[in-house]
Symmetry: C2
């Protein structure tokens, strides 16, 4: 897949669906923020700069469409909002997420070790594993500094809702 946009256009065409201007705008927003994990609202705000008449419902419908199409992944870190990232199925390995309980920042990391876990599970339970979600909660390097020395863990109780 050299051009993600054309790739998505074709995947849509296979189902007699079109990459409309609105959908393309949403897609471009995601591509332009490949390093982050945007909420629907954030996508909406950004997309609006480029296509002012676009509606939030369309953003939701588009993200949902892309997710079902397998080109976007939905990430639910238990914050009460879903986050989205461009990530076509089968495009290399899974990546997992590190979520800072203090500032909410989300980092990614690659790890293949999970394959072993999955296979063990399949063997032991008969479950057929199709996908997974691994979230690690903790404190990013920055947020470890401030109050670093007292026994009180700065576990912000309300936000980021902690481990899901």
């Amino acid at each position: 897949m050299s051009d993600p946009i054309e790739y998505v256009r074709e995947r849509l065409a296979q189902q007699d669906q079109r990459l409309t201007p609105q959908r393309e705008t949403v897609l471009r927003v995601l591509l332009d923020h490949a390093d982050t994990h945007l909420t629907a609202e954030e996508v909406y705000l950004e997309a609006r700069n480029r296509a002012p008449e676009l509606g939030l419902a369309t953003v939701y419908r588009t993200l949902d469409l892309f997710a079902r199409l397998g080109v976007v992944r939905r990430l639910d870190a238990g914050e009460g909002v879903a986050r989205y990232e461009f990530h076509p199925e089968g495009a290399g390995h899974y990546h997992h997420h590190l979520i800072c309980l203090e500032c909410g920042q989300i980092l990614e990391f690659e790890q293949d070790l999970l394959d072993r876990v999955e296979r063990a599970v399949e063997r032991e339970t008969g479950f057929r594993v199709v996908d997974h979600s691994l979230l690690l909660f903790g404190l990013c390097p920055n947020c470890q500094k401030p109050s670093d020395g007292d026994g009180d863990r700065p576990r912000s109780d309300r936000e980021a809702s902690g481990p899901a």
Copy 2:
């Protein structure tokens, strides 16, 4: 911790809080369903049979309290509802969850391999990992049977919301 109820009572007392009849009811419901992962609504309905005047808000407040106390774990599988299970912190190893995309059933399994992942992450990123959530999505043995042979994966698109 031989008696979970007394354990919780003491934990609460440490913070000048009480194990009220309502809270005890909620706790008992959780204990009586240790094998499942109830939603707040389900806890509420069950608890109501035992204490009809109990309100849903109290159930939410209690579950939240227990979660902050570390005796209950909140599980968010991206369904749009949170699920809760009695699971005191430090009571043995983590357990993870297997979620059937077809019937929504949630199985648990134990795995320690994640410690290695966590330590690798801490070393490589400087993140301090405090907790984690591992969800495996797939098909339980039962749901593999029905349409087992056609290429069509019975990936129920709407429910269980798929991988989070």
